[in-house]
């Protein structure tokens, strides 16, 4: 599904990611863990096409195609979705209208939905995800609580139906109940779409009670230092990231 090869990038001469390799297989749940400042969020944004980090080496392959040079919009339309750690507030922009515009932007003329059909689709998904109707009538993230923003990110993801979902610290800032709702929703989505690949970026193990990872990647000083199965989580839980310092 996704292959990052030998990627090096910098922000104003400071190397953020170095010779990074990462592979995410179709339908797999992958985890990216690492200490603060190790490059997790930079990698998430870079995969989505954010221009802040300049790539000097390496490439990103998505579904067999080199997308290193592709713009954010084009990556989104190819099926990459990034759930933001801090979703942005866009004042005055109605959530429904915005999401329909986004939905239709990814579809051919034939598959696009008119207002009423889209409204039904949105309501159906919102119901499934226990999101109250009144949230749908709000403006995009404007004045929403942290938990509400994250719920709406996952609702957007469900509507846009990506092939690869990158969850950038989606669990951060959520209380225990909100965390349960958000990750149960992601689990629902995953069970509906077995082919969906997910990359979870997190500091906490709590989320793995909802989503069982197939593969765990440890990022340290901008590079992947270890990759393994779920057992690697226990190792990190026990020893922390210090073990990678000597390497």
């Amino acid at each position: 599904m996704l292959k990052v090869e030998n990627l090096t990038c910098q922000i104003a001469d400071r190397v953020i990611l170095k010779d990074l390799d990462l592979e995410i297989k179709k339908g797999e749940i992958s985890v990216l863990m690492g200490p603060n400042g190790s490059g997790k969020s930079t990698l998430a944004k870079l995969l989505m096409g954010h221009p802040e980090c300049e790539i000097s080496k390496g490439k990103i392959i998505f579904q067999g195609k080199n997308i290193t040079e592709l713009d954010v919009t084009e990556r989104a339309r190819k099926g990459i979705f990034l759930a933001f750690q801090h979703p942005l507030e866009i004042p005055g922009v109605n959530f429904r209208s915005y999401l329909r515009l986004a939905f239709n932007s990814m579809r051919s003329k034939k598959e696009q939905l008119p207002v009423f059909k889209f409204r039904n689709l949105l309501q159906e998904k919102a119901k499934l995800f226990n999101i109250p109707d009144k949230l749908l009538n709000r403006n995009l993230n404007e004045g929403l609580s942290g938990g509400e923003k994250k719920k709406m990110e996952i609702l957007q993801m469900a509507i846009l139906n990506p092939k690869l979902a990158i969850l950038d610290e989606t669990d951060s800032g959520l209380d225990i109940d909100a965390l349960a709702i958000v990750f149960e929703n992601i689990a629902k989505l995953k069970s509906q779409n077995p082919d969906l690949s997910v990359l979870i970026i997190t500091h906490y193990h709590k989320v793995f009670t909802y989503l069982k990872p197939d593969r765990v990647n440890i990022i340290y000083h901008g590079t992947i230092v270890e990759t393994g199965d779920a057992a690697l989580l226990d190792k990190i839980e026990k020893n922390g990231y210090k073990q990678y310092e000597e390497k």
């Binding site: 919009t73 989104a76 979705f81 005055g92 932007s105």
Partner: protein, 479 residues
């Protein structure tokens, strides 16, 4: 990223929901219409006498014009605001008459002009509103239609020339009383050379539910438009007047100096909505003022997109207790444009209140300014005013400024002023693009959200039209 056709189509669908017109073709064209009469360039006493003679005016109006002309020649250009030195008053046509005389039904409208109207979508708007349409084509009102029941109610909706002939007593009472010729150089110019415009009188207690609307259009090279609008809302009446302006593009500069006078009598309510989209060679220097009597309400909704330079500060004089006024405005300045817009609220009586909300957007090196005056005179006890002006900047080349002036001579008043300047952030664009929107869709969406509080005050068709105009302005502007 390059925008593809699909993106553009979809954007238009989104922003034009409910409209079927091709807006790209709608602007910047000039139809061949033969000018029947043209007094040539420049203004003089003789030209003014000739204008007045051609209009069969009496001495009262001729004298008003001549007095105003004297004021015009003596008054200096404004010492503040944008640079107007490129206006050459000797290079302007002050009176041009197009086509035949005023038509009262659609069938009477000349074919060429109908074609222009088609491009402007006027018949569509007319069908939708089933309202009176007063359309100014060149200096003369060609097509004028007023629903029968309103005539029966005593509502007068005419072009100003015709109205003067029929109701001189209303002119003697109100004309030039709200905006005197001495107010400023351009008001003087208008008072000397005015032609066309709308005249509305709403009798006591009559509430006109459907908006009265007029479309304006300049269609002659170098032709100044000096329309004169006078609205009188008698006690307890209500009316909503809408003007939408579009203009084709010309190579040399064009001057538009209108005067709008509104009289809101006791308990009356007037809303005046403008969508201005002059081509970017037009100087749009307009004086708009309303006098509001006891418990009356005046609302200016003013949307300005076009022109080379706009200077416009709709004002509200709250002259009797309980009078209320609002100015809601949007200004968008693109490349080479200066939009110097704002509002004036003058509180003279107790318990008067005003709300001023201004939203401006600048991009591609455009400049917007908010220029406001808030005055609370001695005796305006318990007056309240709330001013909010927000500016949105799309790039580093563009600029916005705020020039608020408060003059408060009364102690017991409440006054608040909030101003904000924001930039469309890279992160907002990244967020929206990550959901599949193109760069332009994303920027247009942010702008649409920014002006939403004022947009929702517009009738649906006009909101859609304004959205489309803004979208046209945004094309290729980001990235």
């Amino acid at each position: 990223m390059k925008r593809n056709k699909e993106d553009k189509k979809r954007e238009n669908e989104f922003l034009l929901e409910g409209l079927n017109n091709d807006y790209a073709n709608k602007y910047g064209f000039s139809d061949e219409v033969k000018n029947e009469l043209d007094l040539g360039k420049g203004l003089s006493e003789d030209v003014i006498r000739e204008i007045s003679r051609l209009k069969n005016e009496d001495d009262w109006m001729l004298n008003k014009r001549l007095e105003a002309y004297k004021v015009f020649t003596q008054k200096a250009m404004p010492s503040w605001g944008p640079d107007l030195k490129d206006i050459n008053f000797d290079d302007i046509h002050y009176f041009v008459k197009a086509g035949e005389s005023t038509a009262h039904s659609w069938e009477d409208v000349p074919q060429e002009i109908k074609k222009t109207f088609d491009k402007l979508g006027i018949p569509e708007a007319e069908r939708k509103f089933l309202a009176g349409v007063a359309t100014q084509y060149e200096s003369e009102v060609i097509y004028h239609n007023l629903q029968k029941k309103w005539s029966e109610q005593g509502v007068i909706f005419l072009d100003t020339d015709e109205a003067y002939k029929k109701y001189p007593e209303l002119f003697h009472k109100y004309y030039s009383k709200i905006v005197p010729a001495t107010d400023n150089k351009f008001a003087a110019l208008n008072s000397a050379a005015w032609s066309g415009g709308s005249f509305i009188y709403i009798p006591k207690g009559i509430k006109v539910k459907i908006p009265l609307q007029a479309y304006f259009r300049i269609n002659t090279k170098n032709m100044g438009q000096f329309e004169r609008t006078l609205i009188i809302a008698d006690e307890g009446s209500e009316v909503h007047y809408i003007e939408g302006c579009t203009a084709p593009i010309y190579s040399s500069d064009s001057l538009h100096a209108a005067v709008v006078e509104v009289m809101v009598l006791k308990n009356a309510r007037v809303r005046y909505t403008t969508i201005q989209n002059w081509s970017t060679n037009v100087y749009n220097l307009v004086t708009k003022r309303a006098l509001v009597r006891e418990n009356g309400i005046m609302e200016w909704v003013d949307c300005n997109l076009g022109s080379k330079i706009t200077m416009k500060y709709p004002s509200i004089y709250l002259t009797e207790p309980g009078a209320h006024g609002e100015v809601l405005s949007i200004a968008l300045a693109n490349k080479g444009q200066i939009l110097d817009a704002g509002a004036k609220a003058i509180h003279i009586a107790p318990n008067t209140s005003s709300i001023i909300q201004s939203k401006s957007i600048c991009l591609n090196g455009g400049r917007t300014s908010y220029r406001g005056l808030l005055q609370m005179s001695k005796g305006s006890k318990s007056a309240k005013s709330n001013v909010i002006c927000d500016a949105l900047i799309l790039d580093d080349r563009s600029q916005t400024d705020t020039y608020p002036t408060n003059k408060v001579d009364e102690a017991e008043v409440t006054l608040s002023h909030e101003a904000s300047v924001s930039k469309v952030s890279e992160e907002q664009l990244f967020y929206l693009k990550s959901r599949g929107l193109s760069e332009n869709e994303a920027a247009a969406l942010i702008v649409a959200g920014f002006i939403e509080p004022i947009m929702k005050e517009l009738p649906m068709e006009y909101a859609a039209e304004l959205n489309a105009l803004i979208n046209m302005n945004m094309e290729g502007s980001v990235g």
